[in-house]
Every structure is written in C-alpha cells, then in structure tokens.
Amino acid sequence: MQNLFAGFFVSMLIHIGLVLSLSNIFNIDLLAFQADYSQPIPAYLVYEKPKLVSKKENKIFIKKISIEPNSQIDIKEMVLKADEEILALESKASKTTTFSQKKTNLNQQNQILLFSSIIEEQIRAVWKKPIVSEKFSVELILSLVPTGEILDVKVKRSSGSDAFDRSALIAVAKVRKFENLKMPAHLFDDNFRNFTLVFKPY
C-alpha cells in the first residue's frame, strides 16, 4: 500500500512539474540550455565625437522626408509616410542588431577556444609529467589578472599522487604569466579571470 502511494506521489510530482513548466510558470529560458548559447555581451560605450554621429543620422533623416517646395502633398499623408519610414528603419535596425549579436556570440566562442589553446600551448611546453602507472588527473583553479599574470593557483581536485600534483603546480609556476592573452575585458572577466586547468597523462 505504501509503495503504491509513493509511486503515485512521484508521478503526481512529475506531472505537476511538467504542466507547470509547459505553461512556463518558472520562466525558463529554453534558449539558455542550448550548447551554443551565450550571455548577451555587456556593452562598453565609448563616447567619441557624439556630434558627428548625430549629424549623420539627421542627414539621412532629412533627406528622406525633405519636402519639395513646389509639390502639393497632404500634410497628413506626409506624416504617415514619415511614420512608415521610421518603422522600416527601426525594424531594419533591430534586425541588424540581432544578427550582429549572434555573430559576436559565435565570435566569442571562437575567441574562448583560441585563448584556451594559447594557454594550453604555454603549459604544455613546460609540463614535465612524471611516470604514472595509473590514470591520474589533477584539477587546478587559476586566477589571472588581465595582463595574463597568474595571481593564484589552488588544487581543486588532487590526483592522489603528490608527484603528479606537484608536476602540474610546477608547470603553472614556470609559466608565471601567460603571453598573448590580449582580449576584450568582458571576455576575460567571464571566462579567464578564474578557470579550471585539468592535467591528464594520456
């Protein structure tokens, strides 16, 4: 009897959960679980000659709704036309931004890969792995500053072999500072300020 009750309770929980999640009561952003999803980039605005930018925009705008002095156009029609134009511009603008955002997301993934391989290469060049009979692996957490210098290194998960752990720590100590890690600040903050380095013999 008790078993039946437990089963019923579990199935009820699952069903309630399903119904609730399908009605999107949890506000789950399904996109976020996709492999190629990444967070929108925080924008770093640089104000440089703002007047020039506004002039340009004005120019385009003025061109589009410039009124020929001799034409006889209803003012109402003219306003409608202008509205349409603005809408079109707006939709075009929004389209380009989503496209460019997607592009930067992809770019960001590539950049993470690129900088990861740069780090990997520099560690590989100095890591002298000891002889190991077992399949060891050690995980270290590295903290960097934007110049590439290693501030701190901690053992997150030991391999169980002192010699193997030490070989990884020595490799990191030898690198001291990663070269060629010039990247946008947000990319660094999101991925490389703290990251996990896994050493495996094979």
């Binding site: 309770f9 990861s116 002298k128 002889i131 190991v132 020595i170 490799a171 996990t196």
Partner: protein
C-alpha cells in the same frame, strides 16, 4: 514516500549544479618531452678522511640511466650551496633546473659511521619538498648513494626508485659448454658475484618477496630439482622432489608458497608447494602442457602458459575458485608471462611475423604494445617499480647472449654489460633497501 521525495530533491540539486558550474575548463593531456632537469650540488664533506665515492657522481649516473632525468654537471653550476639559506633560486632558474639537491656528509658519534643530511628543492616554487637524514657505514657510501637516488626518484616520479635493486641471472660462458653459473649483479653492472656454480644446467631463478632468498632449478643430481638458496649465508635447501620435471618456481607474494611445474601426472601441470608443510598440491590438471606460472601481486591468481588450445597462449587461474580464463588471442605464440606490479598489465614473449618480441598487454582493455625490436627476445622480468623490463636476447653482431632492458613506454633501451657473453634468464629482485 519521504525517501522518494528526497531522491527527487537530490536529483534536482545534481541537475542544477551541473548548470551552475559552467566555469571554463582547459584540459592538458600532453607535456614536454624534455627530461626533468636536476642539479645535485656536491655534498659538503665534513669528515677528516677523503671520500671513497662522490655521492653526486653516483646519483647522476643512477638518475640518467633511463633517460628520464638530465643531471647538471658541477662545472656548470654558479654556486655550491649546502644550506637552504645559501640558495639563489634565480640562478638555478636561469640554468633551467627543475629540482635542486643539496646536502652534507657529517661525522657521526659512532666510529666508522656517517650521517648524510640532504634536501630536495622545487626551484620554480622555491619550496623544500623533502628533507632527510640517513645513517650508514663509511664503507657503504656507494649503497647510500643509490639509496639517495631511489628517494629522489620516488619523490619526483611518484614510483619507487630501483637503483638499489639487483638482478639474478644464469651465466653460461661461450668458452665452456659445461659450466653454469648463477650470479647476481647491481643494475649498474657493479658488485657482480657468483651464488652457485655447476656443470649441469641451472634454470629460472626467482627472488623471494623479501629479497633474501632465490629459488631456482638445478640439474646437479642428473634430473631437475628446485632449490632455495639464502643469499647472506649461501645455504641451500632442496624442495621435495617428484617424478619427472620439477621446474619454473615462482614465489607467492606472502612468501609462504611456491608455484612450480611438475610432470608427475605424465604431462606438465601447475602445482603449489607449501613451504611450511613441504607438500605439493595440484592447481591445473589438463592433458595439455601447463608451465611458467607467475603470481599476481595480490596473490589471488596465477598466469601461466598452456598449449591446451593447440598453440602456446597465456591463461589466468583464480586460486580460490580454480576458474581458468584464456588471456591472449592474438598470434600463435604467447609465452612466459609476468605480471606488472599494478596487476593490471602483463608482459610476455609474443611472436609476430616469425620474430619473438616482448609485448605489454593491458588485461582490462586488451591493448597489446610491442616493446622490443630485437631478434630473439626471451624470459622477460619486470623491475619492482613496474617501469623497466629486462630480458635475454641475442646480440646479432657478436652472436652472444646478452641481457637488454627497455622502459615500459618503449622509449629507452639499454644493454647490461655481460662479461662472458652468455647471460640468460634474468630475474629482477624486489625492492631491497627500504626507505
């Protein structure tokens, strides 16, 4: 009901944690192929008498023997510190040294004894990783040097050093057809001495697990018989002889049993010999030939060669269940198997394209790698740290029997100098000098 509820909560926690820990992971699987660079500063000598051996020379020779280490020459050093305070890490870093070894040989209150104090330092992290004081006789300076090599090797590589171990072998000089000599030697070829000489064949020496005795087969009575000889005294005792062949002794890891081959049931089978009760008990009873047993490091099973399938192959027998399993399926000749200390890998003689090689076989994955590229490789024996294999082979140029070695990764090969050109049946000792 509550249990299932907790299970769900637990499941949700696990799921959520995988999404939360999305920190970047970079995996490093390959490293630099360069040897580990060690600098050993000549130890400060605080004795009145002149040293008989230089420790740094012994250690350099030891560590460089398998090409895993490169040891800096004292001439290339910028300073000779003997204390930690005297070290300028920057200098050693410039010399690309990974580990620095410093120390001194000190007087002891006991006459004829010395104390050696030394440290191993990690140059890139400026850390003392090992500090020790070892005591010994002035006369045993060389042995102490090998002992220091073992400790350094263990600290840096994570597996025991084997520079204090020895190798037993049978010497049959080319010049004398009727002379057999059971000998033992240090692995650097020094301290080679004879244990037992006979004008009848001597076969398959095997070390006891404590390294104090050697079991072997001798034909001195006209037929084969297994003997055990104590190294310190030279005393010999014979095992109870049975009709037919008595061969291939192999000690159990606890030292209480020997496994061997007897043919008293008309065809060779594996037997167990209880060293306390001096009694034989059969392990296998097949009409095929079962031979060359070796104990697994945990003592629970044995591997042996059998031709029960038509060709020689390797089989494993579980001693408690007596269940037998075939282990090799590749090729038509696999024989003389030996376990590695991890118990997960074995080595054996494998014939490929008509040539006999030493093969390494992973028992879990079944992966086979050929370790040697010489010609007639036979009777492999594994070093107690599992990293080096010694085997008998033929030198094709001089047509003599030699002992050759190879590291388990197949990268480094070496030849053990043999005086007479007739060395065969090598057996690597267990770790002899504990530390």
């Amino acid at each position: 009901m509550m249990q299932s509820f907790y299970k769900i909560i637990y499941l949700l926690l696990i799921l959520s944690s995988t999404y939360l820990s999305s920190q970047l992971r970079i995996e490093i699987t390959g490293g630099s192929d360069e040897p580990i660079r060690v600098a050993m500063v000549p130890f400060e000598w605080k004795l009145n008498s002149a040293p008989s051996h230089y420790l740094h020379e012994i250690v350099k020779k030891d560590l460089e023997s398998f090409a895993e280490f490169a040891v800096l020459n004292p001439e290339d050093m910028l300073s000779y510190p003997s204390l930690e305070e005297e070290i300028s890490y920057r200098d050693w870093r410039l010399l690309k040294v990974d580990y620095l070894i410093i120390g001194s040989v000190l007087k002891s209150e006991i006459e004829g004894e010395v104390n050696i104090a030394y440290s191993i330092l990690d140059v890139s992290r400026r850390k003392n990783i090992h500090k020790a004081l070892i005591k010994g006789s002035v006369k045993s300076l060389k042995r102490m040097g090998h002992n220091i090599s073992d400790r350094i090797y263990h600290k840096i590589n994570g597996i025991p050093g084997i520079f204090s171990t020895r190798i037993a072998y049978v010497d049959k000089p080319l010049s004398d057809a009727d002379s057999y000599d059971l000998r033992i030697t240090d692995i650097d070829g020094d301290g080679d001495l004879s244990l037992f000489k006979s004008n009848q064949p001597i076969l398959s020496p095997d070390w006891s697990p404590n390294g104090k005795e050697i079991a072997y087969v001798s034909f001195e009575e006209g037929t084969s018989r297994i003997y055990i000889q104590e190294l310190a005294t030279g005393n010999r005792r014979a095992l109870k002889r049975e009709r037919g062949i008595n061969s291939s002794p192999s000690w159990s890891p606890n030292g209480n049993y020997l496994s061997a081959v007897l043919s008293k049931g008309d065809n060779p089978d594996i037997y167990l010999y209880n060293l306390r009760s001096n009694a034989w008990t059969p392990l296998t009873g097949h009409y095929g030939i079962d031979t060359e047993p070796d104990w697994s490091p945990d003592g629970k099973s044995l591997i042996f060669t059998s031709n029960r399938s038509g060709s020689p192959q390797i089989y494993e027998i579980n001693i408690s269940s007596m269940r037998i399993k075939r282990k090799t399926f590749e090729g038509t000749y696999n024989a003389r198997a030996r376990y590695l200390p991890d118990g997960k890998n074995i080595i054996y003689v494998h014939r490929r394209k008509g040539v006999f090689h030493i093969a390494l076989h992973n028992l879990r994955t079944g992966k086979i790698s050929i370790l040697t590229d010489t010609f007639l490789d036979e009777s492999p024996s594994v070093a107690p740290n599992g990293n080096v294999i010694i085997y008998a082979t033929k030198d094709r140029e001089t047509d003599t029997d030699i002992l050759a070695g190879v590291t388990i990764n197949g990268k480094t090969r070496f030849i053990l100098p043999s005086v007479s050109g007739g060395a065969r049946e090598p057996a690597w000792s267990p770790i002899l000098d504990k530390y």
